[in-house]
Amino acid sequence: MKKSLLARNNDLANTQRQLEILSNGMFADGELPTFAKKIKETNQFPLRPKKLEILQINLGYMCNQVCAHCHVDAGPDRKEIMTVETMQQCLDVIKKTGAHTLDLTGGAPEMNPNFRWFVEEASKAGIKDFIVRSNLTIIRANKKYYDLPEFFKKHNVHVVSSMPHWTRGKTDKQRGDGVFDKSIKALQMLNEVGYGKEGSNLKLDLVYNPSGAFLPGDQMALENDFKKALKEDFNIDFHQLFAITNLPISRFLDYLIASENYEDYMYALVEAYNPLAVENVMCTNTLSVSWDGNLYDCDFNQMLNLKVASKVKHISEYNEELLQNRNIIINQHCYGCTAGAGSSCQGVVA
């Protein structure tokens, strides 16, 4: 079994090291413009939050998979998970913010032993869109998870699942042997309870990340190809496909450097820079809460340990006004969100 960077004592498990590489590293000659300079050109600096719409909560870094590109550096060897106390603090905030979307992520969020309790409690708060990011295989990992599709249905959870490709080879290469077959089975189980069907309000969306050092192509075209192949080969239905660019952090950064693609990839991101995408990057309407309750502008900043630039740093001290008044922390990895049509956790943004 592969291990996380942390378990391997890899240099890049240190977020400071990642930031050094991103900001100086191999572009010390200054050929690569800083992201700050880029957004200054279009008067978008400093990047400021708009109204809070999405609260993204990371329930822990524990995962049954060890995907090659994981920006969380998640895996079975990661033990960080959110406690009930922190969950309660999140629930208190959910009730008082105007955020319409709650987005639960991990690791595999379902592996947190209090996941179901949290979903039950949170679903009472009347959120419009209640997302659980499921890696699919967790549904097939152990009998105790087999009823997850029913559980999701009961709470009208919006399931967003990762699926790198409609072929076995590509999927297994990125996410591990056997992942494709298990994911297909899990998708069929979700379909069986009514998820993903046309006209169904049980939303099932897929997330596509390129399986290597290249950018995602046109989201719509990819969605059509995914739909056609999954329907023909496995009779699977889903609603939308979100194409997400891999950000050069954590395990994907490690892969880029080891495969000598780092420099080309960064150039490709900068070349594809789209100022229109800046307006809608997810940090502008999202707040990310880590397993230990700290607050970040986004999931990526969380993984780089860049806490919000505000007096309020923890969910227990939540204060909307103070948080609205912050500047978003940016760095070179932000090029990943603004390349081409742009991407965030919700797919293209421009």
């Binding site: 409609w166 072929t167 390129p210 290249f214 995602p216 192509g217 075209a221 990819l222 190809d225 150039y267």
Partner: protein, 111 residues
């Protein structure tokens, strides 16, 4: 750096050809862009054609570009290799079919 005719970094500079003749350069890029738009053929089909042709033309820049383009579109390596074989088949067929010209000439010249 060792001296070679091809430098991968030159691909990024392709757009600069407009600097020495803006009008013709722009005309070329406009045309190029139009050709690859979705039309009677899908952009995906065009990408595979371009990949096959870049091999028969043996242009390393185009091979790199359309390999990447194919990956971005989710085209599999099996599909890409098949396209390359199509190019190779046409190229070898085109060589061989000229064998008929050779045969004609031999037949004409020989007693």
């Amino acid at each position: 750096m060792s001296k070679t005719y091809y430098d991968p970094a030159d691909l990024r500079k392709f757009g600069k050809i407009t600097e020495w003749n803006e009008e013709l350069g722009n005309k070329f890029f406009d045309y190029y862009g139009k050709v690859f738009e979705e039309g009677a053929l899908t952009a995906r089909e065009k990408s595979l054609i371009a990949l096959a042709v870049s091999h028969t033309e043996q242009c390393p820049y185009c091979i790199e570009s359309y390999t990447k383009d194919g990956l971005q579109r989710g085209i599999t390596k099996e599909e890409m290799m098949e396209a390359v074989h199509v190019g190779a088949a046409i190229k070898s067929g085109a060589t061989l079919v000229h064998g008929v010209q050779m045969m004609n000439k031999v037949n004409k010249l020989e007693m």
